[in-house]
Amino acid sequence: MAKSALLKSSIAKKVAMALSGLFLVLFLAQHFFINMTSVFSADTFNSISHFMGNNPLVQFVIQPILIVGVIFHFIMGFVLEFKNNSARPISYAKNNGAANSSWASRNMIVSGSVVLAFLLLHFYDFWVPEMVYKYVDVSPLNETRYFHELAEKFESPIRTGLYSLSFLLLSLHLWHGFNSSFQSVGFNNKYSKSLHTLGYAFAIVVPFGFIFIALFHHFNH
């Protein structure tokens, strides 16, 4: 087989999905820890946010890599879904998927699409205003604005509800995706059971933690 076939192969595609997913898991973890500080200390949250928002390495290296990673994961997800659907042109009259697999594993495209819709709202809420503030209006540095900007957004019960719903779907996405990534890169051994426990814990703690943060600011404003 020619080496050029590697990138076109089914296995390379699933490994690429897995690695981009694991990269996003790392991003999610750091975002979670930073947001959690907003519950305990407005000052800590402000200083970390100021650092993340103004550090050149974060802004001009990590942020673009992250955006590319997000776009790649979504495009690849849709491409694979389309290709996989075309592998069965005639569906079963009766199919009992629940007998052999979890809802989360069969509906990654559903949970992923909701997370994508959430990201668009999230970018509209936070990322776009931040870019405008810094690079369009070139407003003066203000190290104490971040906490208020966050808390203000969660005044709205509709936004708080949408965020919470999205994180429920993110939880389902991670419930399958976290452990699936390791299987895709070939990691299946005596440590897998412990890793699965970690994956399930992550899929619960992080999304529900985000929901807690949203509800905390909603009810404490």
């Binding site: 192969s9 089914s10 592998a87 079963y92 052999n100 399958h176 070939g186």
Partner: protein
């Protein structure tokens, strides 16, 4: 037992198929599922109708010839059995049973419930073998020391009968459980290591060329596999493939 069967009928590969309903009576709980279909076909012959075509051979659960998607599951609702080993005691009097062919673009329907699983043969031909000198000086495989752990894993993988239940059950029609079992059974043994890189590259390339979908690790294949082939084999195949690709 009195049952209502909803069976996929299709005259030939080019014809359009549809579900046709057949009431059937006098089915004993101890009959096998295929015996139940034999009785239906006897009745159809008496009526002068075309019998339902379905695959079967050994009827002992070892040849991998029988298939059928029964009430939404490959080989029916029982676990670790093929359709020929599925018994009617798994159903209740009055049940409606959907019987469909294994569905995948790579498994085209030939007639009724019979599908062409030649794609699996072509994948096997692309690398599912070892090259052994048969000049008369062949070393007996039993003289080669192999750790029991590896021998057991290789044997487990080799129990795959290539029935295609993994493809039929997978929401993506992926053949990765089958291919990974065939890759693993050799990759784990010294005799298979010599051609391991070519084997995995060629078998995966053929699998992709046949039009199977991609694995998304739902695990449905492992649950529905009549031989209990483990997902561990897919992880092994992924490792083998990546390592063979990177080595070039």
């Amino acid at each position: 037992m009195k049952l209502t069967l909803k069976i996929w009928r299709q005259k030939n590969a080019a014809a359009e198929g549809k579900i046709v309903e057949y009431p059937i009576d006098g089915i004993e709980p101890d009959m096998s599922f295929l015996e139940m279909l034999d009785i239906l076909n006897d009745e159809l012959i008496v009526k002068g109708e075309d019998t339902v075509a379905f695959d079967h051979d050994c009827r002992e659960g070892i040849c991998g010839m029988c298939s059928l998607y029964i009430n939404g599951e490959a080989h029916g609702p029982d676990r670790l059995v093929t359709t020929c080993q599925l018994h009617m005691r798994k159903f209740k009097d009055g049940d409606t049973i959907f019987i469909e062919p294994f569905r995948a673009k790579a498994f085209p329907v030939i007639k009724d419930l019979v599908v062409d699983r030649g794609a699996f043969d072509r994948i096997q031909q692309s690398g599912g073998f070892i090259s052994v000198n048969t000049s008369g000086n062949t070393i007996d495989a039993n003289t080669i020391p192999i750790p029991k752990h590896d021998a057991d894993r290789a044997f487990d993988a080799a129990t795959c009968i290539g029935c295609g239940a993994c493809v039929a059950s997978c929401k993506n029609s992926s053949a990765m459980l089958f291919v990974s079992a065939k890759v693993s059974q050799f990759a784990l043994l010294p005799q298979g290591k010599v051609e391991a890189a070519d084997r995995v590259l060629n078998m995966v390339a053929q699998m992709d060329a046949e039009g199977f979908g991609n694995c998304t690790n739902t695990g449905a294949c492992e649950v529905e596999c009549p031989k209990g082939i483990s997902l561990e084999n897919i992880a092994r195949m992924n490792r083998e493939y990546l390592s063979a690709s990177l080595k070039g």
